[in-house]
Amino acid sequence: MKVSILNSLTLLVLVAGCTASAPEATESQASATQDPALLEAILEDVRIGWEQGDGTPFYSHFLDWDGARYFEGGGENLGLEDLVVNHVEPEAELGLTLGFSNIQTHFEGNFAWAVVDTEIQLTTADGRAIHNRGHGTYLFRWMDDAWKVVHTQSASSPVR
């Protein structure tokens, strides 16, 4: 009986250990919902968050993971709080209007990415009117039954 209990415990611990060492395998068991509308809804929340200087959609839809980086035009924010406090909030104070259009989504299992056309207008603190068009790339990972933004990159240039 002792052997049986010990073996059962050993098996249990082994299974637990293997599961703990393979989080991706666990996640892949819950298959992602590959619906472009889900990504488009997240991007719309994020767009509004940018315009209103509201970090809520960012904290809701972005995965705040160690190593997260958000790039714009060669500059970068390190982590979610840096993005919200040092980029989203100050830019909204400049009267930012942001347009997302032509959203193209791509799915690969529990990973997805979206490419969007962007249009940006604001007035800098020294009175310079900015009107740019460009593109953004958003990377998503399916976690806990939702798509989470794990990386962003965007760039734009002045409208001529």
Binding site: V3, S28, F71, F111, H135, Q153, S156
Partner: protein, 162 residues
């Protein structure tokens, strides 16, 4: 004799079981970590090979690393493979061979058969009659098909260095 054998099993000290258990679990984790590192290195090699092809003006090598449905974003434009082949590729090769670029370490994140790799860079030099002094970021999405990593998306962004 049979009972003796059973007793022998029972007498195996618990700490031996724990050691064996730890060895199996740690061994599994180490093997998985090593595999991830190997795959991340393979991703870096593809990114490096792509840039080497641009510097060397080898359009065939560069295009061979791009999947057929690749999306390339640079300078405010979006191109598919065919448009890139006849569009920005030649200019990218000229730029890569003319302007030295210093790149940060490439950071790779793996998720099964998908990886994304990003890095930052500074470019300083002369392109024709234009002085270049910029810093930028590069994002690539790669997928593994038939054990080969291919580039599915590239996003380059840059700004003038201050």
């Amino acid at each position: 004799m049979r009972g003796s054998g059973a007793n022998a099993l029972i007498r195996i000290p618990l700490h031996s079981f724990r050691l064996a258990l730890a060895a199996v679990v740690v061994g599994g984790m180490t093997a998985q970590h090593a595999e991830a590192q190997t795959e991340a290195q393979r991703v870096v090699e593809v990114v490096d090979a792509y840039h080497a092809a641009l510097v060397n003006g080898d359009s065939t090598a560069a295009l061979s690393l791009l999947s057929e449905d690749v999306t390339i974003l640079e300078s405010g434009g979006v191109e598919d493979k065919e448009h890139y082949r006849s569009g920005h590729l030649a200019g990218d090769m000229r730029f890569a061979s003319a302007v030295p670029r210093e790149r940060s370490e490439i950071r790779v994140t793996l998720l099964g058969d998908v990886a994304w790799a990003w890095s930052t860079n500074t470019a300083q030099g002369r392109m024709g009659d234009r002085e270049v002094n910029s810093r930028g970021a590069e994002l690539m999405v790669l997928t593994r098909v038939d054990n080969r990593w291919m580039i599915r998306a590239i996003h380059w962004s840059s700004r003038a260095a201050r």
